[in-house]
């Protein structure tokens, strides 16, 4: 099975595939489309989509990277609710992050494990992110203006664990600033930052999963 529409496998004459698009000629008013693809993050040198960045597996989807992960109407005026599950070898990829709240996690046979993430807020695909790698957290808690608890994690390589204190203080100050100046209360249970030397895009403010270099001054606004 490669692609199915409302559970029915698509036949070869129902779609057209090019190197940049997938066209399905006849579809109903409302439907679910399931598509299985295979990608090669280790060979992805475009710095868009899912790729290996040093010892990390990470995404860069702004502006047009999500189309390198799956077939999608990759434009910013389409906003959807994302649920993401990630499965990998635990020894190689102990930490697996995506947008939103961590819903579930578990162990599989053969040393593999999985996590599932859910972001209840509709977002354009260019704000999708995932990261997998051997990262260590520096953690704290922020209490929002209405009293909600938000877990804060800055994920770094072990060698950088002692450099996160200022960033954590800055993050909490920025969240307070958003509340006091703009009336914006943080809207999830969790906020993750990944700060690794290997991230070659500089910095990317995805929904609840900022990715950047430790040397980069983080910009937390709007995320």
């Amino acid at each position: 099975m490669v692609s199915s529409l409302d559970g029915r496998e698509l036949q070869g004459n129902e779609y057209l595939r090019t190197d940049k698009a997938l066209l399905i000629s006849k579809v109903p008013e409302q439907f679910d489309l399931e598509i299985e693809v295979l990608i090669h993050p280790d060979k992805n040198t475009a710095l868009e989509g899912l790729y290996h960045s040093g010892r990390l597996l990470c995404t860069q989807c702004e502006a047009e990277g999500f189309r390198r992960i799956t077939y999608y109407p990759d434009r910013p005026d389409i906003m959807a609710v994302f649920t993401v599950s990630i499965e990998a070898e635990k020894a190689d990829w102990p930490i697996m992050l995506s947008n939103g709240n961590l819903e579930q996690k578990g162990q599989l046979e053969n040393g593999r494990h999985w996590v599932s993430w859910h972001d209840p807020h509709p977002k354009p695909a260019h704000l999708f992110a995932m990261v997998a790698g051997d990262l260590k957290p520096v953690s704290d808690v922020f209490t929002t203006c209405s009293g909600k608890r938000v877990d804060l994690h800055i994920w770094v390589e072990e060698k950088d664990l002692s450099y996160c204190d200022h960033a954590m203080v800055s993050l909490k100050n920025a969240m307070r600033w958003d509340e006091e100046v703009y009336g914006l209360e943080y809207d999830l249970d969790l906020y993750n930052i990944v700060a690794v030397d290997d991230f070659n895009m500089g910095a990317m403010e995805n929904k609840s999963l900022n990715i950047g270099r430790p040397s980069q001054r983080p910009n937390f606004s709007g995320s």
Binding site: L22, Q30, L38, Y71, P73, D74, F82, G202, M204, Q216
Partner: protein
């Protein structure tokens, strides 16, 4: 985003804007990481917004059928 990339992106003009024929309400993504390859299964919930005869057009680059 602070990004540094080679070349200039293609110009997208506001005057050329057209509303999408379909919107996506929900994305369910299953990502399985293996050595040398990653399998991605996406379940996308579409709702038509445009003309009844409009085909579904999706972007995709460097994707292989599994």
């Amino acid at each position: 985003m602070m990004a540094f990339r080679e070349g200039l992106p293609a110009t997208i003009r506001r005057v050329d804007y057209q509303t999408p024929d379909f919107t996506v309400t929900a994305v369910s993504l299953s990502v399985q990481i293996f050595s040398g390859r990653t399998d991605v299964t996406a379940t996308l919930s579409f709702v038509r917004r445009g003309a009844a005869a409009a085909p579904l057009q999706l972007n995709g680059e460097q994707l292989r059928w599994s």
